[in-house]
Each structure stands twice: as structure tokens, then as C-alpha cells.
């Protein structure tokens, strides 16, 4: 495929007229990207791996000492860190499941001929176009127990969404679901519109019920694209920072990235925070790998 692209350089094109070979053009496009990736991604990644084995503090002029696996050992033995991971896991599950249910549900509703479908879809996409910080700030007002519109509409009196330690994480997840369900909806809609109509016609002829049609035709055919949405949303939810940080400061909402931020930029424990970042990275890689394996399986079916 790549060679096919490379050999189709038009002999009359300006590049050909300048005497550039296919190889030169390929390099012109690829090398800057590779250099950029190495300088801004790969190098810091490796450099921070080195720091994760030291007691380096960016706030101090003292030289970094090699401490071996001490940072990793201490982090993995810290009950607070484990509670941060447990909170993150709970948040990821609630938020991603919520987004899939709402997003896929809305996509099913939109996947038919209705008036103003285009406008409706665009309007539904608005939440995910907003900045996280802005969403956090105005949901804080919506949740306010004294004058918030949510309590007013639902008649909940002065229910404390964000100050109640048991409720706060769900409140953050609800905001995340509101913001990112449209993303799942968009991908699901693409998947749904690609399901061949004749399958539904055949099912109708066979008098298959709507329940059966959904689980045997719709869901299996949309599954691969839905999985991609789930992979993206899981990775994002795992890294959540802004929403949780802005909405509340309950310890029950201290997801791992907030702890990491505090460790790195408030306590200036640079070495240890690098180690924590690596633990998080490995976890995300592992989870994504499981998903990708499953995705490939779904595709094979």
C-alpha cells in the first residue's frame, strides 16, 4: 500500500519539477513529526523514568540520589494511594457505563427519520465542545444546595451533591456523563447507520421481535465501533482531573491524577511523582490492551 502511494508521484507535479524524489517527500513529511515526538514525548518519558528511581525534588538544588525501587515500594504500600486508585476505578466504571447507556440510547433514538435530525444532533454535541473548566464551574452552580437549579427542579430541598462525601463522586460522574455521552452517541450513530437495512428486513420477514433484533443484529454490528468509544472514554476517565478538581475537594473524589498533581506540584516530590505517573501509565496500558484484545475478537466474529 505504502509503495503504491509512493510510486504515484505525478511526473508533472511541482515537486517532481523541483527534482524531489519520492523518498525526499516522504522524509519531509515524516522526519519533523518523528523529531517532535522524540523531543516532546519520548525523551521526557525516558527522562522521567530515570527520575522515578531517585529522590529528586525539583524545588531543591540538592542532587538527586539513586534510591532504587524505594519510590515504587512506598507508593504501592501507601493506603492513601490505594484509596485513590479505588476511587478512580469506581469513577471510571460509573462514568463510562453511564456514557455508554445514555450515548447509545440517544443514538438509537436518533437513528431514524425525524424532522430536524441534523440540527438536533449538532445541538446534542454541544456539551463536549465546551472546556472542562467551564463545565466544572457552571455545574458547581447547578449543584449548589441553596440556589442550584437541580435541587429546585427535582424538589430536593437543600440536598448536598458536592459536600456529601458519598454523593460527590457520583455528582462528578453525572457531569462527565452529561459532557461526554454525545461522543459515544456520535460514534454509535456512525455504527448504526452502517448496519445494512436488508438485515432488519430479513428479521422482520422472520417475525423476529425488537429485543431479538437488537441483541442479534444491531448490537453485534455496532460493537466494534462502540468498543473504540469505550476505549477512548476509559482512558480519558482514568486521567480525569479538571472536573473533579473544580467541582469538589472531597477526599472521596480525589482521583489518582489529583493526587499525582499534588505530589508533583504542591509537595514537589518529583522523583516519587514520576514513579506514580509510571504506575498509572502501566495500568492504563494494561486496561487498554485488554480492551484492544477484546475489540479484535469482536471484529473477528
Amino acid at each position: 500500500m505504502a509503495t503504491a502511494v509512493m510510486t504515484t508521484l505525478d511526473p508533472n507535479s511541482r515537486s517532481a519539477a523541483r527534482g524531489m524524489s519520492d523518498l525526499t517527500i516522504r522524509n519531509l513529511f515524516i522526519i519533523p513529526t518523528i523529531v517532535f515526538l522524540i523531543v516532546f514525548n519520548i525523551f521526557p518519558l525516558l527522562y522521567s523514568l530515570g527520575y522515578s528511581f531517585t529522590d529528586f525534588r525539583a524545588s531543591s538544588p540538592a542532587a538527586a540520589n539513586f534510591v532504587g525501587l524505594q519510590n515504587y515500594r512506598e507508593l504501592l504500600n501507601d493506603p492513601f494511594i490505594w484509596s485513590n486508585f479505588a476511587i478512580t476505578a469506581k469513577y471510571v466504571i460509573v462514568s463510562v457505563v453511564g456514557q455508554v447507556i445514555v450515548g447509545f440510547g440517544v443514538a438509537l433514538l436518533l437513528n431514524r427519520d425525524i424532522p430536524l435530525k441534523g440540527l438536533l444532533t449538532t445541538l446534542l454535541l454541544l456539551p463536549m465542545m465546551l472546556s472542562m473548566a467551564v463545565v466544572g464551574l457552571f455545574w458547581k452552580l447547578l449543584y449548589d444546595p441553596s440556589f442550584g437549579i437541580i435541587n429546585y427542579t427535582l424538589g430536593l430541598g437543600s440536598f448536598e451533591w458536592l459536600s456529601n462525601p458519598d454523593m460527590a463522586l457520583y455528582a462528578v460522574a453525572i457531569t462527565d456523563i452529561w459532557m461526554w455521552s454525545p461522543f459515544v452517541m456520535l460514534l454509535s450513530l456512525a455504527g448504526l447507520s452502517a448496519v445494512p437495512k436488508h438485515l432488519y428486513e430479513a428479521a422482520a420477514i422472520d417475525r423476529a421481535g425488537s429485543f431479538y433484533t437488537f441483541f442479534r443484529i444491531t448490537l453485534p454490528l455496532v460493537a466494534p465501533i462502540l468498543m473504540i468509544a469505550i476505549i477512548f472514554r476509559t482512558m480519558e476517565a482514568f486521567k480525569t482531573f479538571d472536573l473533579a478538581y473544580i467541582l469538589t475537594s472531597q477526599p472521596t473524589t480525589e482521583v489518582i491524577s489529583i493526587r499525582l498533581y499534588k505530589m508533583a506540584f504542591q509537595e514537589w516530590q518529583t522523583g516519587r511523582s514520576c514513579a506514580l505517573a509510571y504506575i498509572v501509565l502501566i495500568m492504563i496500558l494494561a486496561i487498554t490492551n485488554i480492551y484492544v484484545k477484546y475489540l479484535n475478537k469482536v471484529k473477528e466474529r
Binding site: L162, S249, P251
Partner: protein, 438 residues
């Protein structure tokens, strides 16, 4: 060719022009501070310096939540963006040990600032380590926690009668923490959307800890021995257990949703008719006597943090000193500015503009004490303040205290004794890690 020559000459001209402007900018100073009213007052003050000396001084600000991170990121990168910083009192250990601040001991001694400035401000904003005689900043903005209250609610004859009938003494400015608690309970009426008290609870930086300190210090407790780093039996002492329980009880009289409250929310408690009393730094009180920002300005009164059960009366220290950044290219200019800043007339002007001077002479003057309804309470408080740890690892100590205390106060988890015992263990481990224990 001629065209090329013209372009080259134009280029050289441009370089020279830029060079000249860079040279002119050498006479500029930048002071970094947090974004709040006192920073605006400071900008007004330094405009006077520009008029006198021709040196332009800019006060650059960033929101409070970001202040520590942004300042230390710049220091760690050895950046010269800021010539001076009005840094928080607890930074002094971290910033001086890492070499971010210029040693101002000679300057301090030459101008006898130990006598000129109020003793607490010298001890907590300028000197590090404790009692070492080494100074790193010039006390600039004195500050401490005080209280505002609704005079109209307190002076309502019906309320006064009902209060006396219930508690057996007259309703008035609380004389101790017990009365503070009673009054908070008395005015706490969720059905009427009126609540007893507004306190600090935000655990993202030092708000909650500062709030708790007010009760710990007034109950006669301490956070630890700042000289020996001993914490066992001090942070988890009997007094501190009682103090923490008292703070937790006050939390039950706060307005709904009060689990992330700091200075903005606490002032809102007064302006929005939410609470009878509200804890806040004196630096935020000017907004409460201004009718444009507080519809209840005329009905707002102020008092100093009341004494605890044994008569100890202290308050948590806020405020900042001004330090010269070691990486500044304009240190000489900065020192000249500081010489101007410490003059009596500058300090007087600073107080007039709304800044909280640390100059003992200005603080003691009746002119200052009668200038606002809270200046007298401020003056009294500034001689009874105590502060958090100022060691370089203070941020870790702060986060550990937040982690232990916050779930207890707002989430009802554990007992005060368990929380403080666990905190003592955390702090011991941290001090051990940094080889502080002798």
C-alpha cells in the same frame, strides 16, 4: 543590490531600536503576588515609587490556588521573570534552603527592622530557621484570621431576650469559644435559611488547616515543637483533641454545602444573609465595609478570635513578606525599592491605601486603629498570632493534615483522638524521611 543594502540598514536600525528599548526596560521591576485586593493596593503604592524614582514597578498576580505552584515553578527553573515575590509565610524554609531568596540579614540589621516591624511578623515572615537571626524577607502584608458578625441580628431585642432565656447570659460578641459555639447554635435555623457560622473547610491548600489552627492555638495547643520537630504528645495532645472536636461542632452549624469554603464563601455568608458569624482573614474585611460589595455593610461588626477554655487567645497567621528573588537581574534596583518601602511615610501610605502594614509604629497609632471598624481587632490580633510549620517539606505536612482532618470534620469519620494520633505518625515519618529528628 541597493535594495538589499537598504533592507540591511533598516534591519540594523531595528536591532538598535530594540536594543535601546531593552536597555530602557532595565529600570523595571516585577513583583509577583496572589490575585486579591491587597495586590491592587500595592500596585497603587508602587506607582508612587515610579513617580519618585522613574523606575516602573509592576505587580503581577495569579489566583491563590495557583500561586504557590507558579512561583515555585519559576524559582525551580531559575527564572528571572520576577524580581521580588510577596511569598506566603510558610514558603520561607523551602525558598531559603533552596537558594531562591536573597539573604536580607544585613539589610534587616542595617535598618533595625527587628524593632521597626511588629514582632510576630518578623518571627514568621522574615526569620528562618527560628531564632537564627537570619532574615529572608521584609514583612509586607500583615494578616491574621478574625471574625465578622451580623450586628443587626445580635442587637435584635427579641433575639437577645430569647438568647438570654436559653443560655443564661447576654447575647454579644463571644468572649470565648464556648460562647462562639452557643451563638452559632442559637442562630442556626435551616428552616429560615439562616445558619450559625461560616468557617474555612477547603482542603485544596491551607484554608482548612488555618481554620483548625484558630481553635488549636486558642485551646492552648501547638502543632509541634518547631525547633526539635517533636510532635508526639503535642499535635495529639488533650487540648488539640478538644479543639478539633470544637471545630467539628462548629461545622454542624454552617450553611449547606459548606465543605469547600474559603475566603470568598466566608464573605458571601455575610453578604448573602447566610450566617450570623464568619471567619476570615482581615485582608478580606475591606470588602465587607464597602456598601457596593456588601448590602449589610452598616450591620457588619468585627471581633478578634476569642480565647479558648483556659484563656489562651491566639489566631492563625496569614500575610506575607516581600523577598528578593536570587535569579533576578535587577537585585540592586530591588534593594533600592525595599529601602523606599520600609520608610515610615511609605508604610503609612500603604496602610491608608488598604494594605495591612507590619510597621509597629503605624499599627500603634490611634490614626490607624480608628481608620476602620476592624483595625483595632487587627492590631490586637497581630500580637497573638501563630503559624504553621515553615520547614521546606511544609507542603507534605499540610497535605497530610488535610488528609487526616478533613474526613473527620466534614465526613464524620473516626474520632478526634484517632485522627490526631494518625497525623502525629504521618508527621513523624515525614520528619524521619528528611532527617529532621535529632
Amino acid at each position: 543590490m541597493r535594495k538589499t543594502m537598504t533592507s540591511m540598514l533598516a534591519g540594523v536600525g531595528l536591532v538598535l531600536a530594540c536594543g535601546t528599548s531593552v536597555y530602557a526596560q532595565d529600570k523595571e521591576l516585577t513583583i509577583f503576588w496572589a490575585e486579591w485586593d491587597p495586590a491592587n493596593y500595592l500596585q497603587e503604592l508602587v506607582n508612587l515609587y515610579e513617580a519618585e524614582s522613574g523606575v516602573k514597578v509592576t505587580v503581577e498576580t495569579t489566583p491563590w490556588g495557583d500561586f504557590q505552584t507558579k512561583a515555585f515553578t519559576e524559582f525551580n527553573a531559575k527564572g528571572s521573570a520576577y524580581d521580588m515575590v510577596v511569598g506566603d509565610s510558610q514558603w520561607i524554609g523551602a525558598a531559603s534552603e533552596a537558594g531562591h531568596y536573597v539573604d536580607l540579614t544585613d539589610f534587616f540589621n542595617k535598618h533595625n527592622l527587628k524593632e521597626v516591624m511588629a514582632p510576630a511578623t518578623v518571627k514568621y515572615y522574615a526569620e528562618y530557621p527560628s531564632n537564627s537571626g537570619k532574615y529572608w524577607s521584609i514583612p509586607a502584608e500583615g494578616d491574621a484570621v478574625g471574625w465578622s458578625y451580623r450586628k443587626d441580628w445580635f442587637e435584635d431585642p427579641k433575639e437577645m431576650e430569647a438568647f438570654k432565656a436559653k443560655y443564661g447570659y447576654d447575647l454579644g460578641v463571644p468572649k470565648d469559644w464556648k460562647q462562639l459555639r452557643d451563638i452559632a447554635e442559637f442562630f442556626h435555623r435551616p428552616d429560615e435559611k439562616r445558619y450559625g457560622v461560616a468557617i474555612y473547610t477547603d482542603n485544596s491548600y491551607d484554608a482548612l488547616v488555618m481554620g483548625v489552627e484558630n481553635s488549636i492555638f486558642s485551646f492552648g495547643g501547638e502543632l509541634g515543637d518547631y525547633a526539635t520537630y517533636k510532635v508526639d504528645g503535642i499535635i495529639n495532645s488533650e487540648q488539640n483533641v478538644k479543639a478539633l472536636e470544637a471545630y467539628k461542632e462548629l461545622y454542624s452549624f454552617t450553611p449547606p454545602g459548606w465543605a469547600k469554603a474559603f475566603f470568598i464563601e466566608d464573605n458571601q455568608a455575610i453578604t448573602e444573609n447566610l450566617a450570623a458569624m464568619s471567619m476570615n482573614y482581615f485582608a478580606f474585611f475591606p470588602a465587607l465595609i464597602n456598601e457596593a460589595s456588601n448590602p449589610n455593610a452598616k450591620a457588619t461588626g468585627f471581633f478578634a478570635n476569642p480565647p479558648g477554655p483556659n484563656g489562651d487567645q491566639f489566631a492563625a497567621l496569614g500575610g506575607q513578606g516581600i523577598s528578593v528573588v536570587s535569579y533576578s537581574q535587577n537585585q540592586e534596583e530591588a534593594m533600592k525599592f525595599l529601602e523606599w518601602f520600609i520608610k515610615d511615610e511609605t508604610q503609612k501610605k500603604w496602610a491608608e491605601l488598604g494594605g495591612y502594614t507590619a510597621s509597629a509604629k503605624v499599627l500603634e497609632s490611634p490614626e490607624f486603629q480608628n481608620a476602620t471598624p476592624y483595625n483595632k481587632a487587627f492590631y490586637e490580633t497581630m500580637f497573638k498570632v501563630k503559624d504553621f510549620w515553615a520547614t521546606p517539606e511544609y507542603a507534605e505536612l499540610l497535605i497530610q493534615m488535610n488528609q487526616r482532618v478533613y474526613p473527620y470534620i466534614t465526613g464524620n469519620q473516626g474520632t478526634a483522638k484517632e485522627v490526631l494520633d494518625a497525623l502525629a505518625a504521618d508527621w513523624n515519618a515525614t520528619f524521619k524521611k528528611y532527617n529532621r529528628l535529632k
